[in-house]
């Protein structure tokens, strides 16, 4: 009887120590993931916003206006590459890269809406409905940001909301204003929130 009781105690204690150690490891992993998740450098927004402003200016030039879709697609490729590089950078010193669980979650949240945007761009282009493209891009990019904000700072969700609002607006605006709204979104909103996020990293305490 006593032997059995000791055996039970041994089992109970082993489970407690092991589960405690496992919980500690889990806490360390969660802390590391959370630290990486808040790494939204303002510079990423500044670079993406600058690319957006440049694309908006180029596509408004009379000589290049007919090529606005190529200009904006090129700008998107450059902005995505620059943004991804700058988002990955803060994690690098510790060796935690974009292969981490948090990065996978971020990609899973972001990619579906961006993929939908790419498919709809092709559909609009094939059907000659080019005026719907700016609104579609803004709307779906906003949705992607709102989804991805679960792994990032809340400011990203707010930025996503602004993109969604601009996208809805763009879908109902005349064609002459579409590219301006596109510039306001991918240029202006990126720059505005980059500054806000940059300010947010400053301390309230010395």
């Amino acid at each position: 009887m006593a032997r059995s009781r000791n055996g039970d105690m041994h089992t109970a204690q082993t489970v407690t120590m092991e589960s405690h150690a496992a919980a500690t490891l889990q806490y360390i992993r969660t802390s590391m993931d959370a630290a990486v998740s808040i790494a939204v450098p303002g510079t990423a927004g500044l670079v993406m916003g600058s690319v957006g402003v440049l694309a908006a200016v180029l596509s408004e030039l009379p000589a290049l206006r007919a090529h606005w879709l190529i200009i904006w697609l090129s700008a998107a490729a450059v902005a995505i590459a620059a943004g991804a590089t700058l988002l990955a950078r803060p994690a690098a010193p510790g060796g935690l890269t974009l292969r981490g669980a948090r990065a996978r979650k971020f990609a899973l949240c972001l990619v579906p809406s961006l993929f939908a945007g790419a498919v709809l761009t092709v559909v609009h282009w094939l059907s000659g409905n080019l005026r719907a493209i700016p609104g579609t891009w803004l709307l779906l990019y906003g949705c992607a940001l709102i989804a991805a904000s679960v792994t990032m700072t809340p400011a990203v969700a707010a930025m996503g909301g602004c993109f969604v609002a601009l996208g809805v607006l763009a879908l109902f605006l005349p064609e002459s204003l579409q590219l301006i709204v596109l510039g306001v979104g991918f240029g202006g909103l990126h720059l505005l929130f980059a500054l806000l996020i940059g300010r947010g990293t400053h301390d309230s305490q010395g």
Binding site: A21, Y27, M32, V36, P90, G94, G206
Partner: protein, 126 residues
């Protein structure tokens, strides 16, 4: 919490067969500072700084949802143990405090991780 687990182990009957936990190298000489790492918020700070080159006071506060005073106290203890380095500056007239993990702090976190892993391995063997 690990301290509590150890206390329970000490209080167990002598007949109780415990897993043979070999003390880790350097554990005794560092035991004075190991207590620093055991505390949950401090362990979180060290873990977070292990994957980020630096974190500001406000980022750490948001991460662990603690008060200014509480975070200051924990950070100061780690700083006094030379586990963290702290840089204070002004950005746009606002004070900015940035923490970095030192080599000593990274070593302490690694030792603690080794210890936790050893506990898991030993209990699974036992």
């Amino acid at each position: 919490m690990t301290v509590k687990a150890k206390a329970r182990a000490t209080a167990a009957p002598a007949a109780h067969k415990r897993p043979n936990l070999t003390p880790l190298r350097g554990e005794s000489e560092d035991s004075r500072f190991d207590r620093l790492v055991y505390e949950r918020v401090r362990l979180g700070i060290l873990s977070a700084l292990a994957v980020r080159e630096e974190l500001s006071f406000s980022e750490l506060k948001a991460l662990f949802d603690v008060s200014d005073g509480n975070l200051s106290a924990h950070a100061r203890k780690l700083e006094e143990a030379k586990y963290l380095s702290c840089t204070k500056s002004f950005a746009e007239r606002r004070p900015k405090t940035v923490y970095r993990l030192t080599a000593l702090g990274r070593g302490a976190l690694n030792r603690y991780l080794d210890h936790v892993e050893a506990v898991i391995k030993a209990t699974r063997r036992g």
